[in-house]
Assembly symmetry: C2
Homo-oligomer: 303 residues x 2
């Protein structure tokens, strides 16, 4: 069976069971009550871990200030995945032209202007502006949750255009950042294995754009900056990343002017959980009937 056939089959089973509902375009779905019950359980498990580490929890809306976004360097690395929000600022006459274009199936969005906000590409982006300045000696830790947008329409149910990412983030000195990344990888793998998933840790790279991206990806792999926790969803040969643990070095410390207590550029690390992907992996593993899942899994999720 090809990947495409596996994706289509799993998607069809989810849609037939009403766990996901199609929303007109690839990678966009409504979520059922059962799906959301599992989502809530997973979010609470990650939040409990962050809370135990003394992390401040912050939930952000699905959009981020354009000024923040432009400083993250996301446009350099992943221009093909971003979403910029454009709005109408015209008068009655402009509105009439907008509606004429809409009726004539012409390009009405051309009349819009960029807003102050863009789609959030990663949950942690909203945190770094809060850290600008000098950190306390122990650094800072956050648990952050938010919807992210990635423009990559796909029939793979695990590759949604709009999905929730929850991250436990450390900002501070390099050694502690690296330790956070490593401890978080271990914690996440154990947590997901307890939920019944077969997990494997692999060194990975982000899907950097274009020719220059090939070099960036090789460097990231070679330095082992990104580790992923993968599990089979649609394919055993090509398991899906449902969590990642990333050491950013000074990638955010520099543009957001974050300093450690001893005056060095801050490093950061995040342990990121793909909430929809984890939820789909659990439905794949335990079946589409939530009521028939193993009792200890339902108990752990409160679902």
């Amino acid at each position: 069976m090809t990947d495409d056939q596996s994706f289509e089959e799993f998607q069809r089973r989810l849609l037939d069971a009403g766990i996901l509902v199609g929303a007109g375009v690839d990678g966009l779905y409504g979520r059922s009550r059962d799906f959301e019950a599992v989502v809530t359980g997973v979010i609470n498990l990650v939040d409990d871990w962050g809370h135990g580490l003394g992390a401040t929890r912050l939930d952000f809306p699905p959009v981020v200030w354009r000024g923040t976004f432009e400083r993250t360097n996301y446009l350099e690395s992943f221009p093909n995945l971003i979403g910029s929000i454009h709005v109408f600022t015209g008068d009655d006459r402009d509105h009439a032209e907008l509606l004429r274009r809409l009726d004539g199936n012409k390009d009405w969005p051309e009349l819009l202007t960029p807003a102050d906000v863009v789609m959030s590409s990663a949950a942690c982006h909203s945190l770094y502006p809060l850290c600008t300045g000098t950190l306390p000696a122990e650094g800072r830790r956050f648990t952050v949750l938010g919807y992210c947008f990635r423009h990559e329409p796909s029939i793979d149910p695990a590759r949604m255009q709009s999905f929730r990412m929850q991250e436990v983030v450390y900002v501070g000195d390099p050694a502690a950042a690296l330790a956070h990344r490593d401890d978080g990888l271990e914690y996440g793998l154990t947590m997901l294995e307890r939920l019944g998933l077969d997990m494997e840790a692999v060194a990975a790279n982000d899907p950097f754009f274009g020719r220059a991206g090939t070099v960036l990806a090789a460097g990231q792999l070679q330095q082992e900056l990104k580790m992923e926790g993968v599990t089979p969803i649609c394919s055993v040969e090509r398991p899906t990343a449902i969590m990642s643990a990333n050491y950013h070095q000074d990638h955010f410390g520099v543009p957001f002017a974050i300093e450690t207590a001893d005056g060095k550029v801050a490093h950061s690390a995040c342990v990121a959980f793909g909430i929809e992907r984890i939820t789909l992996a659990l439905f794949h593993r335990h079946g589409l009937d939530l009521g028939a899942w193993p009792a200890h899994v339902r108990e752990a999720l409160g679902a």
Copy 2:
């Protein structure tokens, strides 16, 4: 005290207490753990009501298919509030130009093209395509939750650019739609009063755009299609709408080709809860220390 002073004072108190966190632009905030605990409690109360009515629960992501959006007539009525998502589809050379513009503080979003998705303006919009065709005799009922975007930057903390809306929606025959609207208004007011809020029901109108909008608003008011549940947040003279109950007549039945079992155009009604506004009203009413709220309120919210 002017409205602006009231907004600023309440915003400052929320920021000082860490219940909201500024995100660089008016109307955009991070939410604290306590804020989200109340949010979850409110969502569960609305969901329980919908569940009791036999509603199907569906949660949608913050974006909607452009094809769905264009059929809702939202562009006709509220062009100034929409958000269209634009993406980069170029090659290496286009990417280089994008980065040149970014570095030069020039208009890089000009190089983008409209995506298949736009920001969701109302949670219920995603439901109507699911109803296209002939309904069962009893109609259909949904509880729907999702982030909505409204481009109206404001210092009023209750007027966010990105916020959650939860709606219990009925689609079917006109009499049942009207009854759903009226029953839902009563249920919502009682539910919110039990949480300690002083509620009042008022006939209201949507903020239709432009000159033509004045006529639409007057018609909506005169026919009493929209009722709002209002409560004082920043001002007693100008209370804030935290819920609304709307009879849409055939506004969605016509463009989405929804028919009742006896072959007539379906009517619809929704009872909509502004989750962030309700949460802010509760913090305003009971104080910024969640631990000091009345026991029965915390119990009802599970917070």
